[in-house]
Symmetry: C2
Subunit: 637 residues, 2 copies
């Protein structure tokens, strides 16, 4: 247990950031460059831009018509029309044409009456001086500030730059950020032979790739270094080189307290470690250091921790160098659907899936593990629980930081309930064809109905066997949502069975055989678990006698993965999950996988698109191991 | 008056768009391409992406500590500690390490007690199987959909792509858009000799530059053509070539009804004009056409019309080709500060400046002319007035489409009132140094005080001479805002005088001399106009005897520009405006330019930053023709 850095500090987030920025005071010097105006989109001005020319540059006709000298056309009335002669009294102009002395007014084409004489017009109203004239400088006056400093240039700004005679602008240079992935277990994807999976025990490098994109989003340029193995000397020399050549350095992993975590030692030796350990979750073991007067941040290895430590610490530092004033995330409020308990030890970033259900923005917490990168992908945002708070009760309104726009969330059909791979297919078809998102949380059938009841989702995918009637879904819905106007959109018929290793080495044939192998079950409330209990009861088997009855996978795929990975010999699940991982499958029974929803939603556009997809031949063609005779049909309960 | 296309249709916006999309049905075929995953940031997937590998690929330690076989470590209790031997009973693991058979549980380093024997540890709690283990596929299961189709790829998605073993993704190709600027009067900025202003009557091309950026923002690639002169044949051949080689064509200007407007004729001859003339303002004369099965849009020449016709018609067409689901603008609600009257003839897009004043989001309409490109630059968004609406009353809440985030608006200090060039300097300094925006609307001193009263702004820049006392500002504030707790932040002393042509060719010396020249006045309510009236009264001059007393410029710079451009001989204004355009200046008196605000705002961060800037030597150094002895001092009223 030598060399373990067990003792991280637990510095509060704001304090850690201010300490770090204070240590960097005077060291973060943005650079500037002059670039052509037409290449300046999304760059940030380093100083105000002043117009060189006025716009318009001259007094110009604001309408199509004729220009006249107002004083010479005075006195025209309905009862006293005035005839004007071309060239002598007026000339024709189009919008934008220059008004030349002595003309000082424009009469619109619509107000002109055909006169008898050739090249003449009649008017019945006298013009006032400067009417329908865009005076010189009306839009922009030479010398006027057209764009302030530290402003992110938009398309309209570019238009105005050109109108104002500006061909180049001074902007913040993009800072250069070195990204150093570390760790013996990490392998670059390009080193995989023929696209094979990495050998066991190794992990594909992904955080540095994510950082590269985060750095780009932040308006900087990232350069990924080769992966540095767990060697103190190699890491030290990589850090020193990076801190020499770059404006900022990010080191991934090696920031925790394991035996191979050299990062903090390397940073202590090469520079100053300002903070090691922050009261945030995920992201606690972050290291904030200064080497060679450059900011160097050691980020934790778990993807969610890595992401959050970038957003929380690297982003504010970078924004000093890029001039950016933007916050990545928009703030809003949402009703929290399930109780979130959090410790007073840290600020916690709980990923949430949000949806507009019944007019309310509802946020449901997702998986909280630091390793759950998919929870970041699925999340619409974060519910940030302050260090001083012990959590949020279900039904309370809380502040949410959104990763994308409210409009996007409003275009999302929220499903909570049982998991099936067809949800992915439907999601893809809805998104590609209709621009509507389907966000599904895999919580099991029972949890789906409860979420429906609490107004947390639009639809609940369910497959619940009613033992009394032998029928599916209706019975349970009436039990859990009595007196509610619920309908069922019929989904697919699917086969449940035992998922076992390829070629079934243990020769599993019946449900009784699971007593002699390592089993993996589904979580409580999952329809599949109810079905297992039903099968066990039928055979008179005591659940306690099954090795692994209490081990829970939360999706069919998680169960299949455990069997595929060898940590379990069998699990109950659907055909498609076994097929996806090329496993053997022993059918145990067919069931109905449907979608419960409040009947008033049947009129909504999103639900109608959902039903259209369920009924579409394109969807049916993709099904393998399912029946779809009733798909999309509506059953009132 | 031959060949005038006076007769545009007035098709409602939605109808025009659906007609156009219907005519393009089957013609807009997005193209797809396969690109490396690390280059996919902000690209849009053309199909769902499924994981190739699981993540983790193996059962992995979720904590630093030791791995054990749970069954072999059973029975440990506080009263019955168990000693485990390295290699025999356990091995040390770091977070992320693979668990090898037969180990099936992890005990955290924190729960280990030093044992007496070498290479031994003691535990006082027995582990349960699979505790602190990240099971294979916990995050991603091979075969699972990780990213849906038609999804814009973010940094977190890139991380997950790599974790899932994906090295390339199929995305929408960027459509190619031809941008054709037209018009004899238009000149490319690169053709100006030595950066000289264009010769009179010519206009610097700016809309195609703006389109290029809009096209890029929309996820497409724009190519600007050389400017096509007003020649029917040249235009026709440019359009035909562009419709051959590109996915979409934008033609700028020539969409109205002037004599030189060939566009609609060229499009009628080369293809089908679906709509010419839409009930929107600005933007009415837009042409929606199909040439060679490609969308071709003729956009009006005024910058605001050009911008809006792109957003309204080009954007939705492009999004079919790019796969984008994003709306450019976020929607919110704001209190409308001043009455907006709109015609039933069209949907009107009124640019608004918004600010958070006293907790309310307030939107003030800006200049409504189609030529006012600066109003687009200054706007925070649009208040869209439906064709069925005659407008919005002051104080009503209306829907606003925002161009930037609420956070940005919340960081904006809103000034409405008198214009001075120092506002630009202060704005620049606040933005660059503190990231705070100063948005100033030039409405004149009186209008500023009224805006303050109505809660439309934070500060009102004023310079109002009290004729009774000869003092500045205090008297008028008490008159207009009686019984309110108002303070004054002292600004600068500045000199007002007559702005005349360089070398003063008319020999203007006193206020009486303006009776013998063409004058340009300021708008009613402007402090400068009050000062003029005061001077005229002193000299006993009748305003009616002044040629141009009723001609109004809305800023000092607009007045200076009129003199500079030759349409006026003299105007009253401040030194710095004359200096900016190299004009002569005859001083008439010094005045106090200050900032009125509600006293409770003095505590706010934005106001304190504003005061800091007013007091800063950096600001004083930039002043030329001003005094600043009291700048930043606070006067209670």
């Amino acid at each position: 247990m030598a060399n373990r850095n067990l003792y991280l500090s637990n510095t509060p987030v704001e304090e850690a950031l201010s300490k770090y920025l204070a240590a960097l005071e005077g060291l973060l010097n943005p650079k500037f460059e002059e670039i052509p105006a037409q290449e300046s989109l999304d760059r940030i001005t380093s100083e105000a831009v002043y117009a060189r020319f006025s716009s318009p540059l001259f007094n110009a006709a604001a309408m199509d018509g004729i220009t006249v000298k107002a004083s010479a056309a005075a006195g025209a009335r309905e009862s006293n029309p005035l005839v004007l002669k071309e060239t002598e009294d007026f000339i024709y102009v189009n919008t934008g044409d220059k008004l030349n002395h002595p003309y000082d007014a424009v009469i619109m084409a619509e107000d002109l009456i055909q006169a008898d004489g050739e090249r003449s017009v009649k008017i019945i109203e006298s013009p006032s001086a400067w009417q329908h004239v865009r005076p010189i400088g009306e839009d922009i006056v030479a010398g006027e500030m057209i764009i302030p400093g530290r402003h992110k240039i938009r398309p309209v700004d570019i238009g105005v730059l050109f109108s104002g005679g500006i061909t180049s602008v001074n902007v913040y240079s993009r800072p250069r950020v070195a990204i150093i992935p570390t760790g013996n277990e990490i392998i670059d994807i390009s080193h995989l032979q023929n696209g094979e999976a990495p050998e066991e025990g190794r992990i594909i490098e992904s955080n540095a790739r994510m950082f590269e994109a985060q750095v780009k989003r932040a308006g900087a340029e990232g350069l990924r270094f080769d992966i540095v193995p767990d060697s103190y000397e190699l890491l030290k020399s990589a850090v020193l080189k990076a801190a020499d050549d770059f404006d900022m350095v990010l080191i991934n992993a090696g920031s925790s307290a394991g035996t191979e975590d050299f990062t903090v030692q390397a940073l202590r030796e090469t520079g100053d470690v300002i903070v090691h350990g922050v009261a945030m979750k995920p992201g606690k073991p972050v290291i904030l250091a200064v080497v060679n007067n450059k900011p160097v941040i050691g980020t934790p290895g778990y993807p969610v921790s890595a992401y959050l430590s970038f957003e929380t610490f690297a982003s504010p530092v970078l924004s000093v160098l890029t001039g950016s004033k933007e916050k990545a995330m928009q703030k809003t409020e949402a009703v929290i659907s399930r109780r979130i308990v959090s410790s007073l030890k840290h600020r916690e970033y709980v990923r949430v899936k949000t949806g507009r259900v019944d007019g309310r923005l509802v946020a449901s917490p997702l998986a909280r593990g630091a390793g759950a990168a998919m929870s970041l992908v699925r999340a619409d945002g974060f519910c940030v629980i302050d260090q001083q708070s012990e959590g949020i009760e279900a039904g309370e309104t809380a502040k949410i930081e959104l990763c994308h726009s409210i409009e996007e969330i409003d275009r999302t059909l929220v499903a909570v309930g049982s998991h099936d791979l067809i949800l992915d297919m439907i999601s893809d078809m809805m998104s590609c064809k209709y621009g509507i998102n389907l966000a599904s949380t895999h919580a099991g059938s029972m949890a789906g109905l409860t979420a429906l009841k609490r107004g947390e989702c639009h639809i609940a995918p369910v497959h619940l066997l009613d033992e009394d009637t032998g029928g599916y879904n209706k019975g349970w819905i009436k039990k859990i949502l009595p007196d509610k106007d619920i309908s069922l959109i019929k989904g697919v018929g699917r086969v449940q069975g035992l998922i076992v290793k390829k070629n079934n080495p243990l020769g599993i044939k019946s449900i009784a055989d699971i007593c002699r192998c390592r089993f993996i079950n589904r979580q409580r409330g999952a329809g599949t678990r109810l079905f297992l209990d039903h099968l066990l009861k039928g055979e008179g088997i005591n659940p306690g006698s099954i090795d692994g009855y209490t081990r829970e996978g939360v999706t069919h795929m998680a169960v299949a993965a455990a069997v595929h990975g060898g940590s379990a010999d069998a699990g109950l699940g659907i055909t498609s999950a076994a097929k996806a991982l090329d496993l053997d499958f022993i059918p145990m029974g067919e069931e109905e996988y449907d979608f419960a929803l409040f009947s008033n939603l049947l009129k909504s556009e999103m639900i109608n698109i959902f039903i259209d997809v369920l009924k579409s031949p394109g969807f049916h063609q993709k099904l393998d191991g399912y029946t779809w005779a009733y798909a999309g049909e509506i059953v009132s309960l």
